[in-house]
């Protein structure tokens, strides 16, 4: 048999630049003696998930005297960025290994002993694999547990269906007694955790991969059942709204971070002002945020049309996330196109 000869080098995609590398902590990385800017290992890539501020906020809260906070993860302390808490407070950081359902049950047990367990794990393994444990062990007893599902939606792109999570809002907003919220960036996570720390009962926070565009320059106002108007007319820069502004279309954009319970007022306002409401989410349109908006419109008899942007009733194709967002109309241009259509333009 002939020796295998590798094919010529393929045109690769580089997810790392010298500039990015300069901004991340490489103390655990093994790429020190490597030659290329484009080279990265797992230790280096984790530094890119900068918008997942969970570990930092929890460490701050512990520093401020919150002795009740304990942190749980399932072999994902690094990707979900809670490992920093574990380094500073190792006696109350529990890594269960790859054993999600065990972790959820144990968090419930910890909550019964006067602790505030914060679970941080990939959303698809936490919310989808663990949904029955979440319901029976945490929500039915009404325990004080915070769950942070990361890397939600199709942010994991070419990792495929097992690593996509377009069903967690639907599955979890069906569970009685569970608050479901979606902080969109690092400052939103800071606000979300701090504002709800003394709220009694379980809360699920749905967050991204940590590489998202920054929406909030500082921690915003945050409350259960609240929302934040990001743009009334043209007072903030947001992708789709900017594209449409150039075409003479002024858009109001509301961050409806509280999915359950939902803030009804902005929906009423938009229905009245525009005659249509457009919901956008990185989730299946069936049973997700758009469905929650539809419930409000129907229940209140609002006279308007609802356009739901989200994943169709199918499993995502494989591919780099950027390509997938474009394909499914979840990028700025895709959202702008849906608005034009809604306006009949």
């Amino acid at each position: 048999m002939n020796k295998y000869v590798p094919q010529p080098r393929a045109p690769g995609i580089s997810y790392m630049t010298a500039e990015m590398k300069a901004a991340i902590d490489l103390s655990e990385s093994r790429i020190g003696d490597m030659a290329d800017e484009a080279t990265w290992d797992m230790a280096a890539s984790l530094g890119l998930s900068r918008q997942i501020t969970t570990g930092e906020v929890l460490t701050d809260l512990a520093d401020e005297g919150r002795d009740d906070i304990v942190v749980c993860t399932a072999d994902l302390g690094r990707p979900t960025q809670v490992i920093g808490f574990g380094r500073k407070y190792p006696d109350r950081y529990f890594n269960f290994g790859i054993a999600e359902r065990n972790m959820i049950g144990a968090a419930a047990g910890l909550a019964t002993t006067g602790h505030l367990p914060v679970i941080s794990n990939y959303s698809f393994f936490l919310a989808l694999m663990g949904v029955e444990n979440i319901r029976n062990d945490i929500c039915y007893p009404g325990l004080n547990v915070r769950m942070i599902g990361t890397h939600s939606g199709i942010a994991m792109g070419f990792y495929g269906t097992s690593h996509h999570c377009n069903e967690d809002i639907g599955a979890l907003r069906a569970i009685a007694g569970l608050t479901v919220m979606a902080p969109c960036d690092g400052n939103a996570i800071r606000a979300a955790l701090r504002a709800t720390i003394d709220v009694h009962g379980p809360i699920y926070f749905r967050v991204g991969r940590g590489r998202e565009t920054v929406v909030y320059e500082s921690p915003p106002e945050w409350s259960i059942g609240g929302s934040n108007c990001l743009r009334e007319g043209d007072d903030a820069s947001l992708g789709a709204a900017d594209i449409l502004k150039a075409e003479g279309i002024a858009l109001s954009v509301v961050d409806m971070y509280s999915i359950r319970p939902i803030d009804r007022a902005p929906i009423r306002r938009a229905a009245k002002a525009n005659g249509f409401v457009l919901s956008a989410e990185e989730h299946n349109i069936t049973s997700g945020f758009g469905s929650a908006v539809a419930e409000v419109i129907a229940e209140e008899g609002l006279s308007c049309k609802l356009h739901r942007i989200g994943m169709p009733d199918d499993y995502s194709l494989l591919g780099p996330p950027t390509h997938l967002y474009r394909h499914y109309g979840l990028d700025a241009e895709g959202v702008a196109a849906r608005v034009r259509k809604a306006l009949g333009k």
Binding site: D36, A38, W40, S45, G97, I98, A99, S162
Partner: protein, 284 residues
């Protein structure tokens, strides 16, 4: 059960197939921009022996009902399986050039609906030994000679579902079922035994009713071949577990051991260095 046919392939040829797995992993990762080097290099000899010597599969008839099945608990190493399936003729080799590109059938984890020869999808750790139990039950009921091999990771041994599957595999005496644990000592958060101790695995698998073999060096082709062949020729009534102690990143010196190269990417000069080491190395 009677002794199964084994394909005639030399040790040197097996070594070249394992080399191909590593070289293609380097190349496909270069296409993608990201890849699981560590856990793919650790399983290269196991996969080469299975597909080129021991498993009864038919690339021209991928869905042959009496074929052996191969499932991956550690689906993130699929990048090492695709080149083998292409090389055997399950799908055209030029599919490999589309690895993880928009709309490609070949993603970071194997997808049974998209990849001919992939017996089951994977990506959520801990599921596939249960799936394999079901396959083994079904094959037995159909009186098929087919075997089911499930390759798991060592971090995966922390999943409760693995042990539920282990209980049921022994309960139903699934001698057509083989579990392999690729013990490469690398997980997302570090060394799995430090994250969550699952050793002693031999005592555990034996206590759960499985005939258990220890492969002290999962890169030693003679030992891999002998052990997996014995596992596939089980005496009546018991499933077999092979504990394969391997090295994460095996074959590229700067990637060996540790969790850091569980995932990564090599720029052009570093890639050349890795290519050179794999080309010149004599693993196995």
């Amino acid at each position: 059960m009677s002794s199964r046919a084994v394909k005639n392939i030399s040790k040197q040829d097996l070594r070249e197939k394992a080399r191909m797995i590593r070289l293609e992993t380097l190349r496909l990762t270069d296409i993608c921009g990201s890849g699981h080097y560590g856990s793919t290099f650790s399983m290269a000899e196991l996969v080469a022996v299975l597909y080129y010597q021991l498993l009864h599969v038919d690339p021209k008839n991928a869905k042959w009902p009496d074929r052996d099945r191969f499932t991956m608990g550690k689906g993130h190493a699929a990048i090492g399986l695709y080149p083998v399936l292409a090389d055997l003729g399950f799908f055209p080799t030029d599919w490999l050039d589309t690895y993880t590109r928009f709309g490609s059938p070949l993603g970071d984890h194997p997808d049974m609906k998209k990849v001919p020869g992939a017996d089951f999808s994977s990506g959520s750790i801990g599921h596939n030994l249960s799936v394999s139990v079901g396959m083994a039950l079904g094959l037995k009921r159909k009186k098929s000679p087919g075997r089911v091999v499930c390759l798991m990771g060592d971090g995966e041994q922390a999943e409760g579902q693995v042990w539920e599957a282990a209980i049921s595999g022994a309960h139903w005496g699934l001698d057509n079922l083989v579990g392999i644990v690729d013990i490469n000592a690398a997980g997302s958060d570090g060394h799995p035994q430090e994250t969550m101790k699952t050793e002693p695995l031999k005592a555990k698998w034996e206590a759960f009713g499985w005939r258990t073999f220890v492969l002290a060096d999962g890169h030693d082709l003679d030992a891999v071949s002998d052990t997996l062949n014995r596992a596939l020729n089980a005496p009546n009534g018991r499933p077999t577990c092979v504990l394969a102690y391997t090295v994460a990143g095996k074959g590229v010196s700067f990637m060996e051991h540790g969790w850091e190269w569980h995932l990564g990417f090599l720029g052009p000069k570093d890639l050349e260095r890795a290519y050179r080491e794999v080309m010149q190395g004599e693993v196995g």
